[in-house]
């Protein structure tokens, strides 16, 4: 398979690009909800529109009523989301959650609502400041036919808006071990469940969740008891690749805005884009973004093919896209000069989103470490 978009994929990209630029723009969505202090940080109307466009069903198998497409297609939508900083539950609900519940009993209950854009799903894994899935300490003990959950989760993106939370808990082993983990799909109405939302620097919402003797049935289990690591890795790798695509979009959006500015802004009697000091930095940034985009597409294709090298490439893509987006937003603000420091200008919003995306499900250091381990050093 050639490493560029097929004709069908290019068509989806054109559709997504047009849709997101119109309906998902910074003015229409990010600033709109931020300036109103919205408790969800995104618009449910737009989420319904995502469903009408078919976006929410991209990764849902055809047998379950979805489009049965792959990570390349999900990434196409995410790149446009990144370019417009569009706040939506797409990444956590339509990518990570959907990938996680594939083939499980929970899918019958929750996928229809995601397909129609009526519900939001979240994924709760981390418990500390940094991404350490194997450090999961939250307990799940057998209770009757089901399990009783006790513990806390942090940095659960859109956890306060979610109708269902896919949560990683320990049914065996101890913190630091990959064995003994189990995933549960927990209804927000469950007794003993609590969510406290926090607004983050990028105006997105994340929650701290608490579970106090939350009782769930056996059919809330996603995957095998004690063998949750495999499902967890699969859903995380789908999510990480999705974030890489979103960051390529963030980087491209920031670069386009910056290159336009270099052509318009005049100092010393000429456009500042004539200065070689800025030209070379812009060209270096372009080069890094092209490489990040190629690595991300490669990871998506390998995931779609079920290739054994996908895991390595996912981490390469997340690390590369993360570093590249950080370079893009830093260069963006610096090259805009004073105006780049104002809230009125959009370039600073790119910087905030990049920081949050870097932190989610492993930053560039985490994934460089994973590349080293997978490469045997």
């Amino acid at each position: 398979m050639p490493l560029y978009l097929t004709d069908d994929q290019a068509m989806l990209r054109d559709t997504a690009r047009e849709f997101m630029a119109e309906q998902g723009s910074i003015k229409a969505q990010l600033r709109h909800w931020r300036d109103r202090g919205c408790k969800d940080g995104f618009g449910h109307g737009l989420w319904k529109q995502f469903a009408e466009m078919g976006f929410t069903g991209i990764l849902v198998p055809e047998a379950d009523g979805g489009l049965g497409l792959g990570h390349v297609e999900a990434g196409i939508v995410l790149e446009e989301i990144g370019r417009n900083l569009t706040p939506s539950p797409f990444l956590v609900s339509a990518v990570a959650f959907v990938e996680g519940v594939k083939g499980s009993a929970a899918r019958e209950r929750w996928l229809p609502g995601i397909l129609s854009g009526d519900i939001v799903a979240a994924v709760a894994i981390d418990e500390g400041r940094k991404h350490r899935p194997e450090a999961t300490a939250m307990r799940a003990e057998r209770s009757g036919n089901g399990f009783r959950l006790n513990g806390a989760k942090s940095f659960v993106v859109q956890g306060g808006s979610a109708d269902v939370i896919l949560v990683a808990a320990r049914t065996g082993g101890s913190a630091g071990e990959t064995d003994g983990l189990t995933l549960f799909a927990v209804d927000k109405e469950a007794s003993g469940f609590g969510a406290a939302s926090e607004r983050l620097a990028d105006s997105s919402m994340a929650a701290r969740l608490t579970f106090e003797n939350v009782e769930v049935d056996a059919d809330a289990v996603v995957g095998e008891v004690d063998q949750g690591w495999a499902v967890l890795t699969r859903l995380l790798d789908a999510g990480r690749t999705g974030i890489a695509a979103e960051q390529v979009g963030v980087a491209s959006g920031a670069m386009d805005m910056t290159v336009d500015y270099l052509k318009q802004r005049t100092q010393f009697g000429r456009p500042i884009g004539e200065f070689q000091a800025l030209q070379h930095r812009a060209a270096h940034l372009y080069s890094e973004i092209e490489i990040a985009r190629a690595a991300t597409l490669k990871a998506q294709q390998l995931l779609d093919e079920g290739d054994s090298k996908a895991e390595l490439m996912v981490s390469v893509a997340k690390a590369k896209a993360g570093r590249t987006a950080t370079l893009a937003v830093q260069e963006g603000v610096q090259m805009h000069g004073g105006i780049g420091m104002t809230d009125e200008h959009d370039i600073g919003l790119f910087m905030k989103r990049d920081r949050a995306l870097n932190e989610l499900w492993g930053d560039a250091n985490y994934h460089a470490e994973r590349v080293a381990q997978l490469s045997g050093y």
């Binding site: 560029y4 490489i291 690595a295 590369k320 045997g376």
Partner: protein, 387 residues
């Protein structure tokens, strides 16, 4: 598809029968390259047999037309040949600036007589070519070149000096940029071919920091060049030169992947990194960039084949690939420590690590510096205003 499968099995059988065992071992260093030429030096008999066998089928240049000594293969067939060669680890039968640089330019800009005269002998490895581009006063500003070719009626009279001429002391012919008009900077340049054995041509190797001398200074003192050795139109040589540079950049950017190994650098250096956490971090970050760049190379080649690549994309590839290669060798040296500093000892294979490290420093200078490539990307891809 059935035809392609038949082609694959025929090719596989032919390679099995004709590629000598010695030519299936990985090349150890540049001394294993086969360059051909008028007075060729072969490392062993197998090297010559392999070059001749491939040339006989036109497979030293599989995608050139048959009438010019090529194999006349389609892109799909060429890809299969490359895959089948890679499968048995077959070496490149012939390294040649004639193949990688001059040939494509002649196919596009040469007249019929020139194509029939020069291309077949390139394909057969009979003539070794060198490139006369840079001059002492014309490096990054290549179009500022001063070597002149004066019109003397039935011939040009060439005078001047070139520098950084790769293997000029071993080459048989040169493709050379000369000034045929002072009226216009870019519009006064012509593209000439001539024999290095011509009277008035002399060369002087340049000793480099790596201790080797792959480049020469080349001097022209009243060299007579027949007029039918002008490629393209008079004063339009800059177009030919730019086209050829695109091919050179593709070739050099490929060096970012040199060794042909898909192994991560850290895997190769594993034992040396065990007690070096900071270095291990640097290597891991390098591997992220290197594996990502490998994906970029795959994408670039796929886009080139499909005619989708931006015409200035080779500049981006050359920049990124060469900077990466320099970083790789810095890390190899750091991991090797004091052992990697040895310059002559047997256990260091004559200072292999250090010499290769120093060689890579030229990657981002030759064929247009990194700064020149960034300027091209800024102007032609990002459309930034330029002077």
């Amino acid at each position: 598809m059935a035809d392609l499968e038949a082609f694959r099995s025929e090719t596989r059988a032919w390679l099995e029968a004709n590629c000598p065992a010695e030519m299936r071992e990985p090349m150890r260093d540049e001394s294993d390259y086969c360059w051909g030429g008028r007075n060729p030096t072969f490392k062993n008999d197998a090297q010559k047999r392999w070059m001749d066998a491939m040339a006989e089928r036109g497979w030293t240049v599989p995608d050139w037309p048959r009438e010019y000594g090529g194999g006349g293969l389609s892109p799909a067939e060429t890809k299969i040949l490359k895959q089948e060669m890679a499968r048995i680890g077959a070496r490149n039968p012939l390294m040649s600036f004639g193949i990688s640089m001059l040939g494509p330019a002649l196919l596009k800009y040469g007249n019929e007589e020139q194509k029939r005269r020069f291309l077949p002998e390139i394909a057969r490895g009979e003539i070794r070519w060198c490139q006369g581009y840079s001059e002492p006063g014309a490096g990054s500003d290549l179009a500022g070149l001063q070597t002149s070719a004066e019109d003397k009626g039935d011939h040009f009279l060439v005078n001047g000096q070139k520098v950084w001429t790769s293997y000029a002391d071993k080459a048989d012919w040169i493709f050379c940029l000369v000034r045929t008009s002072k009226e216009s900077k870019h519009g006064g340049i012509s593209f000439l071919l001539f024999d290095m054995a011509s009277e008035g041509v002399s060369t002087k190797p340049i000793l480099l920091i790596s201790g080797s001398s792959p480049f020469c200074e080349t001097f022209f003192d009243d060299v007579k060049v027949p007029k039918d050795q002008l490629v393209g139109e008079l004063n339009k040589g800059w177009d030919v030169a730019k086209y050829l540079l695109g091919h050179e950049r593709e070739m050099i950017s490929g060096m970012g992947l040199s060794g042909g190994s898909s192994e991560a650098l850290g895997t190769a250096l594993r034992d040396l990194l065990a007690d070096e956490p900071m270095l291990r971090t640097d290597v891991a970050r390098f591997d992220v960039d290197a594996i990502a760049f490998r994906a970029m190379s795959e994408r670039f080649i796929d886009e080139l084949k499909a005619g989708r690549a931006h015409p200035a994309q080779p500049s981006m590839m050359k920049y990124a690939g060469t900077e990466l290669n320099k970083r790789r060798h810095e890390l190899v040296m750091a991991a090797g420590g004091a052992s990697a500093l040895e310059w002559e000892s047997e256990r260091s294979k004559g200072g292999k690590a250090a010499r290769e490290w120093l060689r890579t420093k030229a990657n981002s200078i030759e064929g247009g510096t990194s700064e020149i490539q960034l300027g091209i990307v800024a102007k032609r891809i990002l459309n930034l205003p330029g002077t």
